[in-house]
Every structure is written in structure tokens, then in C-alpha cells.
Amino acid sequence: MPYSTITPAEAKPVANYKMATRMEGGRLLYISGQVAWDDNGHFVGTGDIGAQARQVFQNLRRVLQAAGGDLTSLLKITTYITKIEDFPAVAEVRSSVFQGELPASTLIVVQGLFHPDFLIEVEGVAAIG
């Protein structure tokens, strides 16, 4: 794995993610914010945060695969949602996708995303090695 995990004794994450990751080689991959478009370019899950989250993480995985990596290549993800009430549903999908500890992670509630139907957008940076 082309990164190491930093685990300080004095500070802990608030959930199941890494405090920091340090790249140790490989290619540096920046992934655009992924939204809930399916393979045909149709928007999935209007008004349905669970459906959008599932599509978003599937898209994230596909981009990683196209770059020669997978979910374990991720150094960090940033999850943007438009309503904090949606977070439990997002966390449930995210946990099932990652099946263990997340990479370094940030969650932000934004005023909006670039289309009124978008409820979630996830971007990532990865080390492909």
C-alpha cells in the first residue's frame, strides 16, 4: 500500500476514519466530486439520499478502478451533503462500502451543490501504486 497511516496518541477521530495518511509512493490521483449520475448519464435518486449515496460511492469506485486502484488506494475523502439530517443514511452506505476503517475523511454540510437535485457529492485523493 503506497501510504502509511498516522495515529497520534493525543487526538482521536470522531468516527471510523484515519486521522491522517502519508503518501509513500505511487501516482497521485485527484478525483472530481462524484454525484449520483448512472452509467447512462441519468440522475439517480432524486429526493432519496440512500440511493444517491450508493450511486456516488459506486462512481467513486469506478473512477478508482479506471485509474488502476480501488477503495483502499484512497488517502482522503471529503463528503459534502446539503442537510445534516441526511448524514445517518450516508454513514450507513459509506460503512457498507468501505467495510472497515475509512481513509482520512472530512464531512461538510454545504449550502448547495451544483444542481438542486444533488444531495451528496464525494471527492477523493488517492495514491495509486
Partner: protein
């Protein structure tokens, strides 16, 4: 330049002006601060979204030029706007003209407020500079123009050894929140936590290259945060971005700060 534009077998991003992802064999990487439509005297340009977008990208162009780069070298773009309709009608085309045929990875967010309430757009970039770091730790921070802010406009680092720190909030190791309702205490706790992570990685605050500060109120942050921040960085600031948003993961959190650092 060893750049891969990642385009899965998926037509949806075509024609949208950005790539789903971009990878590089990282040698020298440039992080810019969030740039806005300010003039050198600090005042915003007049003329609304189109003028602010043009000014922000002109400033980014100067930062890229200083590093010997151009928009074709941009790996990632982050757009923060406060008015999406204005961006769609009069900002997007201005932005596109700067990129031409180049396609970075991109994320666009609508935020509640930027540094000045009249600010409509802020943009930050990550660019691949190529060249060789020749094995030496590389950390060069610079300004392409004079400005009064506590940040550098650009940071150039060895992209192969970057430290990505999760967004830090004012949480204690036992899971409780430090400083409920107290901006000063939360700022101190957040920077304490960032300091712990940097030390655990063998780095110092001066090795921070990019910082993004997300706050529930820029006005409240300005009263309490900058003094704590100055004490932490002691004058050696990273490229930085400050954004106001409506919420963080717990209702008690007032501020969240993410840092990318260069490690030797």
C-alpha cells in the same frame, strides 16, 4: 509531464469542462490558496460574477506563471460560489476561457459566505509542475502579488510525500466536544489536534502547505480564530481558504480545519 486523464467508460462527464479524475507521477506539486476577485488594494472588483471570476482566474494565472506552469498543468480545481445561478449565467464561460481545452478534476460547491459578504466566487487549484525534486525535501511558499493576508498564494512541494490530514474538529480523545459554544476554545483545540497529527508524522506547522477552514460564522471566527492561528504558524502560513458553511458533522462543532503538509 506524466499525466493520465481518467475517463471511465461513461459518457456523462463529456462536455462538462472537467475530468472525473487526473493522476500524475508526482514530483513537484503546486497548491494555491483560494483566490477571489480582489484587487491589489484588497477591494473587490466591480461588475459582479463575471468580473470577479475573471479577476480570480487572472490571479491564479499569475500564481501558475510564477511556478512556470499554466492551466494545462492543473490537476484539481475547487470552486466555491455563493450564487450558483450567477455562476451558471456569467461565471462559467469566463472560467472556461482560461482553461481552453485543458480538463482538470473539479469539485464545485455552493457555500454560505466567503471572506467578504459581496464575494461571489473563490477558486483554488492543485497543479503538477513536473521537473525533479532531486530527492531533497522541497517546500517553497510564495506570493505572486502583494497582499495583506496571513497566507501564501502558492506552495510548491515534493508531491510524492504528502500528508493528508482529516478535517480536524474540537473533539477530545474521549469523544466529548471541547468548548461548546466557545469559538476561542474550539480554535485552540482544533490547532492542538492538527499539531498532534503533524508531530506524529514528524512534521511541524511550517510544513503545512494548504489549509481549508470551514466555519459556521466568518464574523465569529474573525474575533477569535486568527490569533490562535497566528500563534500556531508563527508567521509561516500555508496557502489557505476560509469558507462559511451551514453545518458540520455535530451541531456543537463551530469550525473544522483540513491541512495538507509536506513531509521529508
Amino acid at each position: 509531464m506524466d499525466r493520465h486523464n481518467i475517463l471511465p467508460d461513461n459518457p456523462v462527464e463529456k462536455g462538462r469542462g472537467y475530468m472525473p479524475a487526473v493522476s500524475v507521477n508526482p514530483s513537484r506539486v503546486l497548491f494555491t490558496a483560494g483566490l477571489t476577485g480582489r484587487n491589489p488594494d484588497g477591494a473587490l472588483v466591480t461588475g459582479g460574477m463575471a468580473a470577479q471570476t475573471r479577476r480570480a482566474f487572472e490571479r491564479l494565472q499569475a500564481i501558475l506563471t510564477h511556478a512556470g506552469a499554466s492551466f494545462g498543468d492543473v490537476v484539481k480545481q475547487q470552486l466555491y460560489v455563493t450564487d450558483l445561478d450567477a455562476y451558471s449565467t456569467s461565471g462559467r464561460a469566463v472560467r472556461s476561457a482560461f482553461f481552453g481545452a485543458a480538463r482538470p478534476a473539479s469539485t464545485g460547491l455552493v457555500v454560505r459566505r466567503l471572506a467578504d459578504p459581496a464575494m461571489l466566487i473563490e477558486v483554488e487549484l492543485v497543479a503538477d509542475l513536473g521537473g525533479s525534486p532531486q530527492g531533497r525535501p522541497l517546500l517553497e511558499k510564495y506570493n505572486a502579488e502583494n497582499h495583506p493576508g496571513d497566507f501564501y498564494q502558492g506552495s510548491i512541494v515534493n508531491g510524492g510525500r504528502l500528508l493528508y490530514i482529516a478535517g480536524q474538529v474540537a473533539n477530545n480523545p474521549d469523544g466529548s466536544v471541547a468548548g461548546v459554544g466557545d469559538w476561542r476554545r474550539q480554535a485552540e483545540k482544533v490547532y492542538d489536534n492538527i499539531g498532534h497529527v503533524l508531530r506524529a508524522a514528524g512534521a511541524t506547522p511550517a510544513q503545512a502547505v494548504k489549509e481549508t477552514t470551514w466555519v459556521l460564522s466568518i464574523e465569529s471566527w474573525r474575533q477569535h480564530g486568527p490569533a490562535v492561528r497566528r500563534a500556531f504558524y508563527q508567521g509561516d502560513f500555508p496557502a489557505s481558504t476560509l469558507v462559511e458553511i451551514p453545518g458540520l458533522v455535530r451541531p456543537e462543532f463551530l469550525v473544522e480545519i483540513e491541512v495538507i503538509a509536506a513531509v521529508a
